[in-house]
């Protein structure tokens, strides 16, 4: 078994258009959630979200690329460029032939579906642009990353709702650890902030109209975000041989399925994923200093997640820190675990724990150290990143300081 490290990170989300800006905003406890701006937003009951602002595709991509890149692909390519350039890895020869890209997304090209349904249903048009299918398909982003960076190894897209990017990163990790690939580009992206995307979520009645306040007794639901997080996972000796800057080690993962309910979370399924990730990484639970929570800000998730943490960690649950950065960047659905991995890297590498902002009232059912409202300095050796999806599919990744 090979050791696996992260040698590059890239992102775009409501907190920033790069990793440095995003981490600075997390350390400041900045809220990236605000009024949504897009066509027909006035017909929505939910009008807030973590929208990416100031990202202009024009100028960044040419006309032909624009006709093929949905917004989720645009985000992915911007984040992939940052990650791969930072890593300094070049994909050629044997490295290119064996390295691939595994990404997560829940909805793929949602705004492409939305725009074209609008054209044919509302506007009565009988013809759509020929690239609608290659633009909206869930693997479009992964394909364009492979094309742009010459990644010719195993490449595909994982779709498990809110756990998509954690499942994708776990898969990429397993490929590098087994020796199947020397490096993998991985992470995820999502862009559902358009009329149809938000309308669908609105129907479920789990969305907050004012703020995302994870673990707070007065929390009233989740807030959607958008963006991408992309990483280079690389075999440790491969990274060392080329003198790469190593951000942290990916130590293990576990996936579990609740096999119970299509939307309600399960304490048992979440606990099995966390304890499974520790077992896979051969890490004692007492070594965990920080958990980036799934922490959606819904009544059901947060209390279930806290109960699962208490079950897995016993008395150590009161000594570790757990925060939800969704309070700042919103819930990026299929891309969320990827952006949240940045909070884990910041904890391990920089010793800064991102806070849970919007925290107002303690909830006895969430009685853990949720790092309320202000970031904290702390030395952390091991961090976990949780993702518990609709459909009961869970994926937890364990990371270690290096």
């Amino acid at each position: 078994m090979k050791r696996v490290v992260i040698t590059g990170a890239g992102t775009i989300n409501a907190l920033g258009h790069c990793v440095a800006d995003t981490m600075a905003a997390m350390a400041e406890g900045t809220c990236g959630i605000g009024p949504l701006e897009f066509r027909d937003v006035e017909r929505l009951q939910i009008q807030i979200g973590g929208q990416v602002r100031g990202f202009e595709a024009q100028g960044r991509y040419n006309r032909q690329q624009m006709s093929l890149y949905d917004r989720f692909t645009q985000f992915t390519l911007a984040a992939a460029k940052e990650a791969i350039e930072q890593s300094g890895i070049s994909f050629s020869g044997e490295t290119a032939a064996r390295s691939g890209v595994v990404l997560g997304t829940a909805g793929g090209g949602v705004s492409t579906w939305d725009d074209n349904y609008r054209a044919v249903y509302e506007e009565g048009k009988n013809r759509v642009h020929p690239f609608v299918v290659p633009k909206l398909m869930n693997n479009a982003a992964a394909s364009h990353v492979s094309i742009e960076w010459n990644l010719k190894g195993p490449s595909f897209t994982v779709s498990t709702a809110c756990a998509s990017s954690n499942h994708a990163m776990a898969q990429a990790f397993a490929m590098v650890r087994s020796g199947m690939a020397p490096a993998m580009v991985t992470g995820g992206s999502e862009s559902m902030l358009c009329f149809g995307g938000v309308k669908a979520w609105e129907g479920l009645r789990v969305m907050s109209r004012d703020a995302c306040r994870p673990f707070s007794a007065n929390r009233n639901g989740m807030v959607q975000g958008e963006g991408a997080g992309i990483f280079v996972f690389e075999e440790y000796e491969h990274a060392r041989a080329r003198g790469a800057d190593i951000l942290c080690e990916v130590a293990g993962f576990a996936m579990s399925s609740d096999a119970a309910d299509i939307v309600m979370p399960s304490k048992n399924g979440a606990a099995r994923a966390m304890s499974g990730a520790l077992a896979d990484a051969q890490i004692d639970r007492s070594a965990v200093g920080y958990i980036n929570a799934h922490g959606t800000g819904t009544a059901a998730n947060d209390k279930t997640e806290c109960a699962a943490v208490a079950d897995v960690f016993g008395p150590h649950a009161d000594r570790l820190m757990i925060s939800s950065t969704k309070s700042m960047h919103g819930h990026l659905i299929g891309g969320t675990g990827a952006v949240e991995l940045l909070a884990c890297i910041m904890a391990l590498r920089d010793g800064i724990i991102a806070p849970t902002i919007g925290y107002e009232e303690p909830d006895p059912e969430c009685a853990l150290d949720v790092v309320p409202n202000e970031a904290r300095e702390a030395q952390v050796q091991v961090a976990l990143s949780n993702a518990f999806a609709f459909g009961g599919m869970n994926a937890v990744i364990a990371l270690r300081k290096i």
């Binding site: 006309r63 032909q64 006709s67 013809r127 642009h129 020929p130 690239f131």
Partner: protein
């Protein structure tokens, strides 16, 4: 713009050329338009002239629409306009 000018404008945009650089006897291949560019050009032609172009990308040669040169495309559009309007 007449039909010829419109078609040349569509093809020039697709080929990332100036309209003056598109000759009536050019083939799309000569202009550097690949299969995706061809499908996009046909979409733009359908939109511009409000016609249905009988073109199947699986069998471009068998379609009842001659795409061999800029001139053949123009005459094909003129025929379709006459039939469909």
């Amino acid at each position: 713009m007449n039909i010829k000018e419109q078609v040349i404008a569509i093809i020039a945009e697709q080929a990332v050329l100036e309209p003056n650089d598109v000759a009536i006897d050019n083939t799309l291949q000569e202009l550097g338009i690949d299969s995706l560019g061809l499908v996009e050009s046909i979409f733009a032609i359908e939109e511009a002239f409000d016609i249905q172009v009988p073109f199947n990308a699986n069998k471009p040669g068998d379609s009842d629409f001659d795409i061999s040169t800029v001139a053949s495309i123009i005459s094909g559009i003129e025929r379709l306009r006459a039939e469909q309007h």
